[in-house]
Symmetry: C2
Subunit: 262 residues, 2 copies
């Protein structure tokens, strides 16, 4: 067998690197080089321009072709390894993962998810009140008991049908969030608009039976199950931004994730 083929349509086993996708790298652009490479490479893979199972050229060769250091090339590749698109094996090489399309999804809001998947999200604000934090709420929001917090309850619909009931508590800094704002945008959008970036969140997903009021709101029968999610979200400095307990119609919603081993 020779070492280099060029146009064998069937199974390109030899090293692959499509230079043509990387002609417009800009070393003077404010966007980092590794990111430019990474995004282009990701697109080439997702579009199938680099076929599943293909072996990439080795890192030093890639770095040379791109005109960047090996560290930079490596960092670009690492980003896709972390996403589960590429697999590295020492002594072997780097390979595109075999057929599958691992969806991204992480730490996003229901509103964003629905919007991104071409559903039309809408929100009805069922409750909007400021009250002093009771024990359990104060504990979860990490504020002193008795501090004013915002308590909201929303019905989230998608394409007109009810999908979830979202109950949230927010600490003192957000008392001025209006019902109008909450009806028009997702909670996490409002956070972003205020310059609050969610950094970490702890969440637990489970199930229970629906209660009568929820059944009515969600348009399901009493005795039906609901999917539940409880979440505490933290901002950059580690302060609690939101505590929420949500319940979802399990026939309309599931928590889908792609997990990548460390």
């Amino acid at each position: 067998m020779t070492t280099t083929h060029s146009a064998d349509g069937a199974v390109p086993l030899d090293r692959v690197w499509p230079d043509e996708f990387f002609t417009d790298l800009d070393h003077n652009c404010p966007v980092p080089l590794y990111y430019q490479v990474s995004t282009r490479l990701e697109r080439a893979i997702c579009d199938g321009d680099i076929p599943a199972g293909a072996r990439l050229e080795n890192e030093v060769a890639i770095a040379q072709r791109l005109g960047v250091s090996r560290a930079t090339a490596r960092r670009s590749i690492q980003a896709l390894v972390d996403k589960g698109l590429l697999v590295r094996r020492r002594g072997i090489g780097t390979q595109v993962v075999q057929g599958q399309v691992p969806r991204p999804l992480e730490l996003s809001s229901l509103y964003d998810e629905l919007k991104d998947t071409d559903h039309a999200p809408a929100t009805r604000v069922l409750l909007h009140e400021v009250l002093p934090a009771t024990g359990p709420i104060a504990e979860r929001l990490r504020v002193p008991e008795g501090d004013d917090v915002l308590h909201i309850r929303r019905l989230r619909t998608s394409d007109g049908g009810p999908v979830a009931i979202l109950e949230n508590y927010l600490p003192g800094g957000f008392l001025d969030l209006s019902a109008g704002e909450l009806a028009a945008q997702g909670l996490y959008q409002l956070f972003r608009a205020r310059g609050v970036a969610i950094r970490v969140a702890n969440q637990a997903v489970s199930a229970r039976l629906v209660d009568a009021e929820e059944a009515d709101l969600l348009g399901i029968a009493s005795g039906d199950p609901v999917l539940t999610m409880e979440r505490i979200a933290f901002d950059d400095p580690g302060d609690v931004v939101e505590y929420g307990t949500h319940c979802y119609r399990p026939d309309l919603y599931a928590f889908e994730t792609t997990l990548v081993a460390k």
Copy 2:
């Protein structure tokens, strides 16, 4: 205010770096330097030896103290940033996240989870058969329809009580997995023992009502809800290793996760 305090018990606002935790770094050890630093640093944070909210010394100083390059020190810190324990801000510094203990949890098996949390997991094999793959199963396992696959159904108990019913299909390479092995160990343990490393998994969590047989097995009433999980797991080269549909008692189990924003 002076720039360096030493023993002000209350609020150590100045830069923090406990040299004493890093006296045993071994440059000749096969375990990577960045990993040695990272694990020690993580423990110091989790044990509270570096208090929540503390600001770390700057990266160049840390690197000097450790006797490593800045890149290595940086990589150690980055690992903890990815875990949500640290926050970096350009022009400001690196800070320990304010009070919380984000649990790890990612791509692990129920068996491991129970074991790690000091519960005693046990497995009863309810079903163990080899059969030709029907359409939907073949599609999910990415094997030709009619290929032999292993179909298993297990009851997982914790401290003697039933927690979940695990139904799985495995492709041809695993037909020889015995019922005895499955009773004694978790599925993912068996994979590891065979040198199969799970790399990526797609999973969806939802809820439904329990059926009569399941209710009996799980020791709950018919009409009760169960938490469901469906998962397809891929190994290093991207081949499907396992397809499973599980159902859990929601009063005994929840999917807990810590999400970190990219």
